[in-house]
Symmetry: C2
Subunit: 527 residues, 2 copies
């Protein structure tokens, strides 16, 4: 083709190129960064080596390499002196993925072509370093090469909070494993590390149970289900990406889908199934506590299918009126020794029993904050309090030595479509915490993707980019303040462009409705 | 865990399962299908062999296998007698991917465990057979095995129309390669085979040009671009999936983004850049036809980067008033021999020159229908007419021996968000064609994903599931009629579930706004 257009055209000088994007736009912002002034080309055949050899980390590095280089094939070979190697060194490659696993890393990218390095205590820290590397290396369309624009680049980084999560809800809409995998993959771009899987609820029950095989008859359809074997598949997929899966089985409310197949788990026909009325405390004719037995069976199955130390037991929004209005329940209350005088005692009966089951399974319970409000320091000290109604609960619980997670509704709820990214960004998880001894008990935060209007068609762009705004505050707490900094908006926009480059549906940033379409033609950098 | 719950729980019989989904729901509906009554388990370790060996088809088969089996790991080994092998036989494995490549296939899935077979003339037919296979094998959650529900299954299948396409628009919003890859992957589920890539337009110019290096200065940003090397990357990705990439470079209208860097390509400052005014016919001071030379340079570069026989040249919506109102242009018209008396002659001047360049590049031009309406049988007979305004143009052109494609606005425009899937389904591409000799000239149809409000965040669910409604009519024309058949809606819903299972964002079917979110909790089968 060269001959053709050389003959046909009049040579014309190229006009100056438009402004380049920020040379290096890192998100979440690393804690310590120093940039030099040298433009350093990178060989697309970049070798990423891991020492000591580690298959999980090497596979992660290979995927990151695909993300960096797959989108553009340079038209020419890299110039002499291009960086050709990244050397990763991990001090403790067998450190397990758990709360407080060391996620820190250092990254150096020298000028001149010497190998880049990532040094980390654990493979999970190294994964975080690789995510940063994947943002630092960009294709420079004008220069025609991949490059790190500003070297030597030296980064020392670690998260402020250990718990940087997102809740997904597979009750209101079933999400396929492939959709869950894409959520997990996308979380890596924002250095998030917890997938809180709200598996079941009162509207549907997609999960297999061997012990109670009828439960998943309450799935939305016979094809919208998870086998018990699917759960470790998700756990393993996430773990290979440095993400912990925390399962949730919410009781005694939010569980009456269990009564579709097993009506005796609900207090009465008027109380369920598929309402938010709680399960029954009343035993069957043989004296067996049918609801607790079913809960124990399901807990055991989920625990066997997962690995995390934590198990979310819900406990929120328990409407006790159904208990009060069911004669069999009130008769049971009267038969207790001493007789129960309040349905709150039934609530506590469930919480104590289920917490004990969970602790016996070697798991630490997580409870929505109503449980704290009702029972406070009666709870086992291993319990983690999940604040979704008020910051006060988080402050109170942590002041008393209980661990807590921040997810307050109206600020961290992704299903609140009128909450812009700034609202997420401006959450200061430590605001109002005056007792400095409480701070270590504040594990972090979790944005909540409740699924009423989010299915596989729209869940990603309901999550992104808003969840990333929260994730940056959680990671970079000590070096960022609030969304009013113009640099924050600039980096958010560049980060959204990056997510789109990776093929993740990330909604326009300037968006009155969270996941609305772009209003017209335009750039990812400004929409 | 078994010990635990066996001890804790009272054995309870499983209640009956809810209705299963349709045993086999195939989409698009194959032309000939016969089902037996035998439930045939399938071994997840299914071996898919290709004879003669073919790396492209084997890789496709391996991906299909991943799609079939990746989402659910059975809890137990398949029963004895499970089908363990699929044998693919291709008669002409080197047949190139081009218009009228043989996409037919036969698929047999015996009862009893004998190997399934796919027989096809070409690897592209075999790919279509593999897509069908991937819909026939499903995990039966109640039985706990993968299975084909109704065997022996015998399918003989071929598309009605050779051209089953979708247009993507990377002008109004740049789409990353990873997003384009996902569009291509998702097209396979509906057996679509043409990606019409409307690369550039007047709002932006994302594509590199070596001959005119300033052109992509009109990209939305310096990171929203394609190198020339990206184009064959997309072509190869699509070809490996049986999908042809037809590039479009629309002129002389819809191209004034070229004038951002090269103002002399537009008639005057008032005519551009980045309006829909057409390029200039006026030569530069040296007598060189600057716009035509630039068009030739770009055409040559795109042709070198693509492989398809067809090259879409646009030619639509040429607003001639800018020519008429520019003194330099009217002076040029007067200087012609004989003098031009109408700006339509400029339009024809461009069409003739650009068609000739394209034919010289061994490509057949495709033109939007205005070009037919203006110049009719003056056009080279290799020209394909793309009807987007009226069925009449398609009827007229094909009656006169020109090939044509159907994409009429208001019926096949995916950016028309008020058009439900039924509107797409009910298009009969042959409606009104009374001259049977014209039928062979009707290549097929193309749904149009214009990008004004579709970027990487929402393009998939703007396309799906509506494009699939068109795709089924294009493939299964002889065995389906219209959307009023309840079986069609049922299969559309099951197909949407399948797309969600594969991780593709496919919007709710019952949707007044095309890509709206689901209105509340529910099933993919009914929303």
């Amino acid at each position: 083709m060269d001959d053709l257009y050389v003959k046909m055209t009049t040579p014309q000088p190229a006009p100056p190129a438009p402004p380049a994007p920020p040379a290096i736009s890192l998100f979440p912002l690393p804690i310590n960064v120093s940039f030099g002034g040298a433009f350093q080309p990178v060989d697309p055949a970049l070798s990423i080596s891991v020492s000591p050899a580690n298959a999980v980390l090497q596979a992660y590095a290979d995927r990151i390499k695909g993300a960096i280089f797959a989108t553009t094939t340079p038209a020419r070979a890299p110039p002499p002196g291009a960086t050709a190697a990244v050397q990763i060194t991990v001090a403790d490659p067998t450190a397990p993925l758990k709360l407080y696993v060391d996620e820190s890393y250092t990254l150096t990218f020298p000028a001149g072509g010497a190998p880049a390095t990532i040094t980390a205590a654990t493979i999970y820290g190294a994964m975080m370093g690789l995510q940063t590397l994947s943002q630092a290396i960009r294709y420079d369309y004008n220069a025609g090469v991949y490059a790190v624009a500003s070297t030597p680049l030296v980064i020392g980084d670690a998260p402020k909070f250990a718990w940087r999560g997102i809740l997904i809800d597979t009750d209101r809409h079933w999400l396929s494993l492939h959709t869950i995998f894409r959520i997990i993959d996308s979380m890596g771009t924002a250095k998030m590390n917890i997938l809180h899987w709200h598996i079941v609820d009162w509207q549907s029950w997609p999960l297999q149970s061997v012990a109670r095989p009828g439960l998943w008859n309450a799935s939305w359809s016979a094809r919208e289900r998870y086998t018990l074997a699917d759960v470790p598949t998700v756990v393993a997929y996430a773990a290979a990406r440095g993400i912990r899966v925390v399962p949730e089985f919410d009781t005694p409310g939010h569980a009456s889908s269990m009564c579709v197949a097993y009506p005796d788990l609900c207090p009465s026909a008027a109380c369920g199934p598929q309402t938010n009325n709680p399960l029954t405390p009343v035993p069957d004719a043989g004296g067996n506590p049918v609801a607790l037995n079913a809960i124990q069976a399901v807990l055991g199955e989920i625990a066997a299918a997962t690995t995390d130390e934590f198990f979310h037991l819900g406990g929120d929004e328990v409407d006790e009126s159904c208990w009060a209005n069911t004669p069999a329940v009130t008769a049971w209350m009267a038969a207790q020794t001493p007789p129960y005088t309040s349905t709150d005692q039934i609530y506590e009966y469930f919480v104590e029993k289920v917490d004990a089951m969970t602790i016996a399974l070697n798991r630490s319970p997580i409870r929505w904050e109503e449980v704290w409000k009702h029972f406070g320091t009666d709870l086992d000290p291993r319990t983690v309090i999940h604040a979704w109604l008020s910051t006060e609960t988080l402050i109170n619980a942590t002041s008393l030595g209980y661990r807590a997670i921040w997810s307050v509704d109206g600020k961290y709820y992704l299903d609140a479509l009128n909450e812009p990214w700034q609202s997420f960004y401006d959450v200061d998880i430590l605001a109002g915490v005056t007792n400095s001894s409480a701070i270590p008990y504040i594990l972090g935060g979790e944005t909540q993707m409740w699924g009423e209007t989010a299915d596989g068609s729209d869940v990603l762009q309901t999550i992104w980019p808003r969840a990333a705004a929260a994730a940056e505050r959680q990671w970079s707490y000590d070096v960022v303040t609030d969304s009013s900094d113009p640099q924050v908006a600039l980096r958010m926009a560049q980060f959204r462009c990056l997510q789109l480059e990776r093929g993740f549906a990330s909604a326009p940033l300037n968006n009155a409705g969270a996941r609305q379409a772009p209003p017209g033609p335009g750039s990812c950098t400004t929409q």
